[in-house]
């Protein structure tokens, strides 16, 4: 099998040399000896730019390995592609998969758990952010290397707060406070509060109350069979939104990130929920002062914190061993504070290695934009637990779609419990089929 992998390596390297001559690689002379691996990612725009810089840094930092980062479309698209080659020697060494694909990846049989290399290499996991690792750990084993991680935050218009006679430094914390403030902020042109119609935010608002999404300990102790999000915590969230919607203080800006962001930037809404990765953009685009706060929670419970979102990196099974090694080396490189600092600054994603926040360039940035610190604080303040670890189900995308539909129907004036139950039902059916067909 060794000779096998040798030949396919050389063929793949000739394949790549054609691209590197046109692309931006400069490793022609030594290409024969180097182990070349592919890194499939779904980062476009600034994310991709940053990844390419990091990869370049890695390739230059040593001369044994060569990583080629290739954009493979959106998370869904790249996952679809992975299914075409998963488990074969054509698979890339590293694939970036979104957080809701975690369960799918674990079950797929395409991957080598990260824990294997951590144990072999005695890698010190504690240097990484625990609240991020939690999500990707199942039964205490780390399956994939966290990479681009984000959490939701609440972003608000400080100028509007001032105009409404509110304290711009004190953002509302509970559902009731938000409802209250939203009512005060509401003007003819401006809604008080908004949230992207996206399941992720709902999950977060449930989790911060300590609510579980599905049974079987949020799917972490076995295959989940029943949705729990239509329980009291979920209902709280829906009531919260419903109240504002009915009061006319809630603005519905649909399912697209850019729509809600431009609504905020054009002062159509005073508070909204965004990803921590969107903070930089919000500050940059807004012609007013922007505040960032923790996401609100129901009044009767204490805040649990947030669940990590974003994506992680997975190592393929069935590829040559030296490729796996190369991939592991690269992942370690990624986790270094310098790289993470750069990553954090470029993209607004968290640094998985908190030491990165001690880097000077991060400090400088934070000084200039204290808002960034809020996002990190919120993450670090999170109480670890089943709820904030996040649910693990294979049909997550479908379930999220059910939530979107439920939210949309809610905004049309339907009963919160009714629409939630319908979403739960749909999720249950999906889980049932998934469990039935599982090998």
């Amino acid at each position: 099998s060794n000779s096998d992998s040798k030949t396919d390596e050389s063929s793949s390297s000739t394949n790549n040399s054609s691209s590197s001559s046109e692309g931006n690689n400069e490793t022609n002379a030594t290409v024969e000896e180097k182990v070349t691996i592919e890194f499939w990612h779904a980062m476009s725009g600034t994310g991709q730019e940053s990844i390419e810089k990091i990869v370049k840094g890695f390739n230059e930092s040593q001369d044994k390995y060569e990583v080629i980062a290739e954009f493979q479309g959106s998370y869904e698209e790249s996952l679809t592609k992975l299914r075409g080659v998963g488990g074969t020697k054509d698979a890339p060494a590293i694939t970036q998969v979104f957080e809701v694909g975690t369960k799918y990846m674990i079950d797929s049989g395409y991957i080598e758990p990260m824990q294997k290399f951590i144990d072999k290499d005695n890698y010190d996991l504690s240097q990484l952010e625990g609240n991020i690792l939690n999500y990707y750990k199942v039964d205490g084993e780390l399956y994939s290397m966290p990479f681009n991680s984000s959490t939701p935050v609440m972003i608000y218009n400080k100028d509007a707060f001032r105009a409404a006679g509110l304290d711009p430094e004190k953002a509302p914390e509970t559902f009731a406070e938000v409802i209250d403030v939203a009512a005060k902020l509401k003007t003819a042109d401006m809604y008080g509060f908004s949230m992207l119609t996206y399941g992720w935010f709902f999950e977060q608002l449930v989790a911060t109350q300590g609510g579980l999404y599905v049974n079987e300990d949020n799917g972490r102790s076995g295959d989940a069979t029943e949705a729990l999000f239509n329980g009291p915590e979920g209902l709280n969230v829906f009531r919260f939104l419903d109240t504002m919607n009915k009061a006319g203080t809630f603005g519905n800006f649909g399912t697209l990130w850019d729509d809600i962001r431009s609504a905020f930037a054009t002062e159509k809404v005073a508070m909204y929920m965004d990803s921590s990765a969107g903070v930089a953009g919000a500050i940059k685009n807004a012609p007013f002062e922007v505040g960032v706060a923790y996401i609100p929670h129901a009044d009767e419970v204490k805040r649990n914190g947030v669940v990590i979102g974003g994506a992680s990196l997975w190592m393929s099974k069935g590829i040559a061993e030296e490729k796996q090694e190369a991939a592991w080396e690269f992942m370690k490189y990624l986790a270094t504070p310098e790289v993470q600092a750069k990553w954090h600054l470029d993209t607004g994603y968290f640094a998985i290695n908190p030491k990165a926040y001690d880097e000077q360039n991060v400090k400088d940035k934070w000084a200039e934009f204290p808002q960034f610190k809020v996002t990190v604080d919120q993450l670090q303040d999170t109480v670890p637990g089943l709820a904030t670890q996040g649910a693990l189900i294979s049909v997550f995308p479908e379930s999220r779609q059910q939530i979107v539909t439920a939210l949309e129907e809610l905004y049309q004036g339907k009963d919160p419990q009714e629409v939630l139950d319908k979403a739960a039902e749909g999720t249950n059916r999906a889980m049932e089929i998934a469990n039935k067909t599982k090998k």
């Binding site: 679809t80 649909g254 697209l256 850019d258 979107v404 039935k436 067909t437 090998k439």
Partner: protein
Amino acid sequence: MTFWRKSVDGRTAILYLLPSVILFSVFVFYPMFRTIYLSFFLTDQNGTPAINVGFENYLYLLGSSEFQNSMKATGLFVFYTVPLTIILALFFALLANEKLKGVGFFRTMYSSTMGISVAASSVIWLFMFNPSIGMFNRLLSLFTIQQVQWLLDPEWALISVSISTIWMNIGFSFLILLGGLQNIDEHLYESARIDGAGYLYRLRRITLPMLSPTLFFIITISLINSFQTFGQIDILTKGGPSQSTNLIVYSIYREAFINYQFGTASAQAVILFIIILVVTILQFKLGERRVHYQ
């Protein structure tokens, strides 16, 4: 197969059709049979058939209100887009068919929408539909008309998507119809003009009948394409709000590529196929009779 050997024409036909037949077999028929096959299964997360459920997928779909809603939305969408696209494209094509200086420029403008990918044009439309900064709402507010939540209001979303779809398809229909118009022999108009036939009369009695093969073609194609609209839905509304724009193909896409339910996705594809087939057969039966070929 013996009847093939009967005529030289038959044998030649095989030769001429061979490339198409081979490619279709590999890239269309084989996947189609696979789709039909899959539609009788529940698949696992990797898309391999796991449990044979017979017609259950179909029964489930036909009973599901979501799917019924999809069908309804698709029907409405087809009804909104096809006639308008063709009428507008025909109007533009007639304008651009006049022998005038600089008409090539206008032709390029009209057909330009064909040069923009669905993804790119959807993004542009997204901007225009944007509730806060979009063109449309700002125009409405300029005239102090009640603003419309174009893509967010279930009442409007399908119409908005239809408007953008009409725009996207107009370039293509325009080009086809213009080609058809160019193909009409100028001489046919001469006698009519001498007889004193005005523009509309010539349009009705000569242009449209002579254009009928092209019209027939573009109607058929537009119907089929419209049933299969996907890209703009994915970008503009993702099927929402409240499923109001969840057209069948988008639903198939979501089922297959997001939910990994290839069984039901395939069943939907098969149902869609049958619907389009019926529509097309009707179209051929009713339409081609009115088509005038040379």
